[in-house]
């Protein structure tokens, strides 16, 4: 991630004046073109895809006008990525997954990063949204209330809105019992509540079959493909069109999420959350209603997960409880922390990075190692690269937290917090150093 320190690096010279425009545009054009010319799933394409994604980071850091940034970003997100996706479905699937998790990470960031409430059960709200659409769009609804038939897939958008409100409702519901708790205690209770939701999903197949238990729900409806998409891309088949469609929906939700989170952060409400995070007692003494603001953070955070859950169910067309386990919650938390707690660009980066690591980079390393093994390179039998993927992920987290505890793109203030202890230690050293000669 050397590019994050762009201003201090040898590349700094490239990031000035007109040259910044030229260098940035050249980088984007070259990586986009190379990627579009190499569409076969392979290590090379993976590398190109990552180089292409890096251009978003460059875009963020580049000293060019905001309008230009916006235009380039839009071309890449609305043009290059979907076009590439039509040539190789694997990569658009990756982009959709990344989008889903970016929205989840942004939602969790409201609770953890803004309000400072450590929530280890966040995936529960994702599950609520997913099961909402899963149950109502399939025959499952007939098992709950005999005679009822699945809702029309036309109602998908309505259910996205319902997912938003149901997510918020569950956010408040799970927030209520933990209002008095802070820090470690809060983390444990939210962990428990998150598990409760998953266990309910496993066991609510009796006495009334609501969730179909560990079997999960199959053949979940997708929203009907808009006719204009077919008309716009006559050359594409239905699966391709569907992927484009889901990609567009995910992008839309992420876009709205970013906008909402950004506006809330820079408002009376965002400031109140931050004040609560800093000092609860002082915050109430300033007239901030603690209960209401905390519940609002839980509700807002959970609502994004609710919407994305609905979209996720439609995309997968199949959901089952293990999708919503504790590891998933922790994964989302890792995105928030890795990217930079409280920082919106950081959390977006964290979401994309962890998704890529999970679905692309680590599996790719494993396949390449296996391929080397087949070619006769000595890799001991006990070392199965596929099994060690998660270990590598864990190692990365550890290294990250040691060397950059504030995350990759930290919120300016968080950076100060993370380094405050270092400063204090340095101060102590200085003081003791001065004390000796005196």
């Amino acid at each position: 991630m050397g590019t994050t320190s762009l201003p201090n690096s040898p590349f700094a010279a490239l990031n000035r004046g007109l040259l910044a425009y030229v260098a940035l545009t050249a980088y984007i054009v070259v990586t986009s073109a190379l990627m579009l010319m190499n569409t076969r799933t392979s290590l090379g394409t993976d590398v190109l895809f990552i180089l292409f994604l890096l251009s978003f980071l460059l875009l963020y850091r580049a000293k060019v006008s905001n309008g230009y940034k916006l235009a380039l970003g839009a071309i890449m997100l609305i043009g290059v990525v979907p076009y590439f996706g039509t040539m190789n479905a694997y990569y658009i699937e990756l982009a959709i997954q990344a989008g889903i998790f970016v929205a989840l990470a942004l939602g969790l960031n409201v609770v953890v990063g803004f309000a400072g409430l450590l929530d280890l059960g966040y995936v529960a709200f994702f599950a609520v949204g997913a099961y909402l659409w899963g149950i109502f769009s399939t025959d499952q609804i007939g098992l709950i209330s005999p005679g009822a038939s699945p809702v029309s897939s036309q109602l998908f958008y309505l259910f996205m809105a319902l997912g938003l409100f149901l997510g918020a409702f569950f956010g408040v519901l799970l927030g209520l019992p933990v209002l008095r708790l802070r820090g470690d205690y809060l983390a444990i209770v939210t962990l428990g509540l998150g598990e409760v939701i998953r266990v309910l999903a496993v066991n609510l197949d009796r006495p009334i079959n609501i969730t179909n238990g560990s079997q999960g729900i199959k053949s979940i409806a997708r929203p009907p493909l808009p006719d204009f998409l077919r008309a716009l891309f006559p050359g594409l088949n239905d699966p391709q069109l569907y992927q484009l469609f889901i990609y567009a929906l995910a992008l839309l939700v992420v876009g709205l999420t970013v906008l909402t989170v950004f506006r809330l952060k820079n408002s009376r409400i965002g400031r109140a959350w931050e004040a609560i995070r800093e000092d609860e007692t002082a915050a109430v003494a300033m007239g901030i209603p603690l209960v209401r603001m905390k519940l609002m953070a839980f509700a807002v955070g959970a609502s994004f997960a609710g919407v994305m859950g609905v979209l996720f169910a439609a995309k997968q067309q199949f959901i089952n409880p293990p999708t919503f386990d504790l590891i998933r919650s922790i994964g989302i938390l890792a995105m928030v922390i890795l990217g930079g707690m409280g920082s919106i660009p950081g959390v977006i980066l964290g979401g994309v990075l962890v998704t890529l690591l999970d679905l692309q980079i680590l599996p790719r390393i494993a396949t390449e190692l296996s391929a080397l093994k087949r070619q006769g390179v000595v890799i001991p039998d006990w070392f199965d690269p596929a099994q060690y993927q998660r270990a590598l992920f864990g190692l990365l987290l550890i290294i990250m937290m040691i060397f950059r505890p504030e995350g990759i793109l930290p919120d300016q203030r968080r950076r100060e917090e993370a380094h405050a202890t270092e400063e204090q230690e340095a101060l102590v050293e200085v003081e003791t150093g001065e004390a000796k000669p005196a």
Binding site: T260, L264, E278, T281, A282, I288, E416
Partner: protein
């Protein structure tokens, strides 16, 4: 009618009665001090007045309405603001953001209005920032708006805490040891600032203070607490002459020194 009337307020923690049957009446526009040795219950009394603790007994009437047992944020909304003995700023927020947090209850932006950036929100935000800058100017922090609270010098942090309290638009402001840890020059400036709170803003002030010069200079009335009980109340000169106070708090040197 008095602005604040606390009657027979009692607060105990387990076996310890921190505030025992204390009554205090504060007239509008006055500056009143609460003094007493360490552990006398002064800060606990403040915490009861501001709702951090609920009183076990007693009534508190503020501006004609009972506030005993209300939540701190509700009491702040009704017009009581405070500062803390150990400065409790939002350290990682800037000076102006600290003041903006203080305005929370006086701003009206609802979540939906913020998300859709309604015209009222777009008008309110710059207005709030302008007001926050005015308040910072008033306490003498002009030009330090964007500095992180924790990077401000000690005296300025005390000022910022007062600006933040003022942002809640109080009628009554409670200052808990506003000059603690200050050098004589800073103490003098702080004393002037407290007087301006009353003279220019028309606020009523209650302060807890250990610096007797400050207390005697600016208070119109003084209440003395010892072991949770009020042992004396009166004008500065009366308190100075009160034998029980001298014994409990000022010590023998105080009268001898005069």
């Amino acid at each position: 009618m008095a602005l604040l009337e606390a009657q027979n307020v009692t607060k105990s923690f387990g076996g310890l009665t921190a505030v025992n049957n204390v009554s205090l009446t504060v007239e509008r526009g006055s500056i009143v001090s609460v003094i007493g040795p360490n552990g006398a219950g002064k800060t606990t009394f403040f915490n009861v007045l501001t709702g951090i603790y609920k009183p076990d007994h007693g009534s508190i009437i503020f501006d004609g309405a009972s506030i005993a047992g209300q939540r701190p944020d509700q009491i702040t909304r009704q017009g009581i603001a405070r500062t803390f003995q150990n400065i409790r700023l939002f350290n990682n927020m800037t000076a102006i953001e600290n003041v903006l947090v203080g305005m929370h209850a006086r701003l009206s932006a609802k979540m939906w209005q913020i998300i859709f950036q309604s015209p009222s929100v777009r008008a309110e935000e710059p207005r709030a920032r302008a007001r926050a800058r005015e308040l910072l100017k008033f306490v003498g922090l002009e030009g330090r708006y964007d500095e992180l609270a924790k990077n401000l010098p000690y005296g300025d942090q005390r000022r910022l805490e007062i600006a933040r309290a003022l942002a809640t638009e109080p009628k009554l402001i409670l200052l808990d040891e506003p000059t603690a840890g200050m050098n004589p020059q800073e103490t003098l400036e702080a004393t002037r600032l407290i007087q301006r709170l009353r003279d220019e803003l028309g606020l009523t002030v209650i302060l807890i203070e250990h610096d007797m010069r400050v207390v005697m200079t600016i208070s119109e009335r003084i209440s003395v607490l010892d072991y949770g009980e009020k042992i004396a109340e009166g004008k500065p000169e009366e308190i100075r002459a009160n034998a029980r106070v001298v014994e409990a708090y000022l010590g023998r040197g105080a009268t001898a020194g005069d």
